[in-house]
C-alpha cells in the first residue's frame, strides 16, 4: 500500500552532502544492516537453530529464553528460525517483484521514449489505465484471478510496479535522446537497437538503479500487506507479513509474535530508504559539491603564496 500512497517517490532526503563519498556514517550503518540481513536470511538453513516448521507442542507460546531466542509461536515453532526463513521469502520475493517490473518496464520506457509517435502513445495509455487503480488494488484483483500464493503475489506486484518504472525510464530517455552522442551514433549508422541498449540505457541506469533500491523497500512492504491479508504467502510457509497476521490472535498473551516480524520489516525498510538516498546523492553529481575543493584550494593557494614569498 505504500507505493499506493506515496507513488514511488523517495521518502527520505537528507541534506546536501559536502563530499563525493558513498559511505557516510548513515549510509554505512544502513548498508551494514542490509548486509547482515541478507547474509542471515540466505544462510537461514545453516544459521537457524530449528526447522521453521518443526512443532514442539509442549512448548507453545514460550517467552524468549536461551533455548528459543525469540520464544515460540502457537504451534511451538521457534520464532527466531521462522524470522530467518521468513526473511528469505520476503527478500527473494521482493527481488522477484523488482526483476519482473524491470524486465518489462525498462525496455518499454526506452522504446516509448526513443521512438515516440504511435508506439509511445499506446504504451503511455496502457500505463494510464494501470495507474488508474490505486496501486495495491490492482494486485488484489490480479491475485483474485490468479490464485493466492507467493508466486502470484510476486507476479501481481511486479505488474503493478511496471507503469511507474516505464514512465521514469521514458522521461530519462527523452532527455538523453537529444544529446550529441545520440546524433553521433545515428550518423555512424548504428541500428536503433544498438543506440537504445548500448548507448542510451547505460546513461539512464544510475537513476533507475536508485529507484530500484527504493522499489525493493516498497515491495517488501506491499508483499507483507498481501501476506497479512492472506493473499500472498500461505500459512505454513514462514513470511514476515503472514507471521504478523498469525501472531495477531495472541496479541495479549505473547505480543512478540507480531511485534518482532513487524520490527524486522521496519528496520529493513528504513535501511533500504537511507541506502537508496545515499546512492542517489552519490550518483547524482548535481547533489554533491566537488570533492574537497576547498581543501585543494587552500593547499595550492598557500603553496603559491609561499612560492611568491620565497
Amino acid at each position: 500500500m505504500f507505493s499506493a500512497i506515496f507513488g514511488h517517490a523517495p521518502l527520505y532526503r537528507s541534506r546536501k552532502r559536502k563530499t563525493g563519498r558513498l559511505f557516510t556514517p548513515a549510509v554505512a550503518v544502513s548498508f551494514a544492516v542490509l548486509l547482515i540481513l541478507i547474509f542471515t536470511c540466505f544462510f537461514a538453513s545453516v544459521l537457524a537453530p530449528y526447522n521453521p516448521n518443526a512443532q514442539d507442542l509442549y512448548n507453545r507460546l514460550a517467552t524468549p529464553s536461551a533455548r528459543h531466542l525469540f520464544g515460540t509461536d502457537q504451534n511451538g515453532r521457534d520464532l527466531f528460525s521462522r524470522i530467518l526463513y521468513g526473511g528469505r521469502t520476503a527478500l527473494t520475493s521482493a527481488l522477484g517483484v523488482v526483476a519482473i517490473s524491470m524486465i518489462i518496464g525498462v525496455p518499454l520506457g526506452l522504446v516509448s521514449g526513443y521512438k515516440g509517435g504511435r508506439a509511445d502513445t499506446f504504451i503511455m495509455r496502457c500505463c494510464d489505465v494501470l495507474l488508474s487503480f490505486p496501486s495495491l488494488l490492482l494486485a488484489f484483483v490480479l491475485v483474485a484471478g490468479l490464485g493466492r500464493n507467493t508466486f502470484n503475489a510476486v507476479l501481481a506486484l511486479g505488474i503493478v510496479y511496471v507503469p511507474m518504472l516505464t514512465r521514469l525510464t521514458r522521461s530519462l530517455t527523452l532527455v538523453e535522446k537529444n544529446k550529441v552522442y545520440v546524433s553521433a551514433c545515428i550518423s555512424l549508422g548504428y541500428s536503433e537497437r544498438r543506440i537504445i541498449f548500448r548507448h542510451i540505457l547505460p546513461n539512464c541506469i544510475s537513476t533507475i538503479l536508485v529507484q530500484i533500491t527504493l522499489d525493493i523497500a516498497y515491495a517488501i512492504l506491499d508483499l507483507a500487506s498481501l501476506s497479512f491479508l492472506g493473499l500472498g504467502t500461505q500459512p505454513p510457509q514462514a513470511d514476515w507479513g503472514a507471521m504478523l497476521d498469525e501472531g495477531r490472535a495472541f496479541l495479549l498473551i505473547n505480543p512478540l509474535l507480531s511485534l518482532i516480524p513487524g520490527f524486522v520489516i521496519v528496520v529493513t525498510v528504513v535501511a533500504l530508504n537511507i541506502f537508496s538516498d545515499g546512492l542517489h546523492q552519490y550518483l547524482d553529481p548535481a547533489q554533491t559539491a566537488l570533492p574537497g575543493f576547498r581543501k585543494y584550494e587552500r593547499k595550492y593557494l598557500k603553496k603559491k603564496e609561499v612560492e611568491t614569498d620565497g
Binding site: 489505465v129 484471478g145 528504513v270 530508504n273
Partner: protein, 308 residues
C-alpha cells in the same frame, strides 16, 4: 473551462470502460466453476446446479456476462453475490458508510498532525527538532499500516483499556484507533511536503519584505508563507484521499470493522466474482473522480493547464 472539464470527463469514461473490461477479465484469468465452490460440501443435484447457473447468468458466454454486469452497474445494480445471496449494491450500501467515515476522519487527523509538524520543522530547519521529526516520519513511513494498527490496539485497547477492543459499528470511540493508524502513514508525506513548501516560501523576497516592514513573525509564518505553501499540500492530500481507500482495506481487516475492505478481501478469498469486480470498479471510480477534481482545481488556479 467547461470545455476542459468535459474533455477530462470524456477521458475518464473511456478509462473506466477499459478498466471495467480489464477487471472483469482479470478476475476470471484462471478458469474455475463458481457453482462448484458455491455448492462445495453439499450434495446438490445437477438440476439445481443448472438452475444456479441460469440464475447467475453463468450459462451465457463471457461477453454477454460482461454486458449484463456493466449495464446493471451503470444503473446502480451490481448483480448478486455468490456468497451472501444478496444484491451487491445492498452489500456495498451497508458497508460504505464505515469506510467513508474512516477515510474522512483519518484524512482530517493526518492534516491536523502533519501541518503543524511540517511548519515546525521548516521554522526550526536543521535543528534537533527538525531531525527528530524527520526520523519519526521515516519510521512511520516504514512501518506498515497494519503494524501501526496492531501496536495501537495492543497499547491503547488491550493494555490500557482506553478504547473498546471490538471495533464493529461506527461510533466515534470505535473509529478513533483505526483512524489514527491510517492517518499515521499519511502524516509522513504531507508533513514533508509542507516542510519543503514552507522553506521555499520563507526564503522568498516577499517574506523578507514583510519581515522588514516589521510584521510580527507569527503572522508572517502562519498567514503569508503558509497560505502559499498550502497549494501543493492540498493537491497531495486530495490524491491521498483516493489511495487511502486501499489503506482503509487493510485497517478494516485488522480491526474487523465490517467495511468495504472486509467485503473485498472475503470476496477474493471465496471467489465471489460479482463482489470483487464491483467493489474494485467502485474504488477505481472514486479514485478517478478525486483525480478529476484535483485536475479541475489545478485548472482553476493555473490557466496554462486549461490550454493543453
Amino acid at each position: 473551462m467547461g470545455k476542459f472539464i468535459l474533455k477530462r470527463i470524456e477521458q475518464m469514461v473511456l478509462v473506466l470502460v477499459v478498466v471495467s473490461v480489464l477487471i472483469f477479465a482479470m478476475v476470471r484469468i484462471t478458469p474455475s466453476d463458481p457453482v462448484a465452490s458455491m455448492t462445495k460440501g453439499r450434495n446438490v443435484s445437477e438440476e439445481t446446479k443448472n438452475e444456479l447457473r441460469i440464475h447467475y447468468h453463468l450459462d451465457k458466454n463471457p461477453v454477454e456476462q460482461y454486458l449484463i454486469w456493466i449495464t446493471g452497474a451503470v444503473q446502480g445494480d451490481f448483480g448478486e453475490s455468490y456468497r451472501y445471496k444478496q444484491g451487491v449494491s445492498d452489500l456495498i450500501g451497508q458497508r460504505i458508510g464505515v469506510t467513508l467515515k474512516l477515510v474522512v476522519m483519518s484524512g482530517i487527523l493526518s492534516l491536523l498532525i502533519a501541518l503543524p509538524a511540517g511548519i515546525l520543522s521548516a521554522i526550526k530547519m536543521n535543528t534537533w527538532l527538525d531531525k527528530l521529526l524527520s526520523v519519526l516520519t521515516l519510521i512511520f513511513v516504514a512501518s506498515p499500516v497494519f503494524l501501526t494498527a496492531l501496536v495501537l490496539m495492543l497499547v491503547f485497547a488491550l493494555r490500557l483499556g482506553w478504547f473498546p477492543s471490538i471495533f464493529q459499528g461506527n461510533g466515534i470511540k470505535q473509529m478513533i484507533l483505526p483512524a489514527i493508524a491510517l492517518a499515521m502513514n499519511m502524516v509522513a508525506l504531507t508533513s514533508r511536503i509542507t516542510r519543503a513548501g514552507m522553506i521555499e516560501q520563507l526564503n522568498s523576497d516577499y517574506i523578507r519584505t514583510a519581515t522588514s516592514n516589521g510584521l510580527p513573525r507569527r503572522r508572517v509564518v502562519l498567514v503569508y508563507a503558509f497560505k502559499n505553501a498550502l497549494i501543493p499540500v492540498i493537491t497531495v492530500t486530495s490524491v491521498q484521499l483516493g489511495t487511502m481507500l486501499v489503506g482503509a482495506v487493510l485497517v478494516e481487516s485488522i480491526f474487523a470493522m465490517g467495511g468495504l475492505g472486509d467485503l473485498l478481501i472475503t470476496g477474493i478469498k471465496t471467489a465471489d466474482y460479482p463482489v470483487v469486480q464491483s467493489v474494485t470498479l467502485l474504488l477505481v471510480f472514486v479514485f478517478l473522480c478525486i483525480n478529476l477534481l484535483v485536475d479541475v482545481f489545478y485548472a482553476v488556479i493555473d490557466p496554462r493547464i486549461r490550454m493543453r
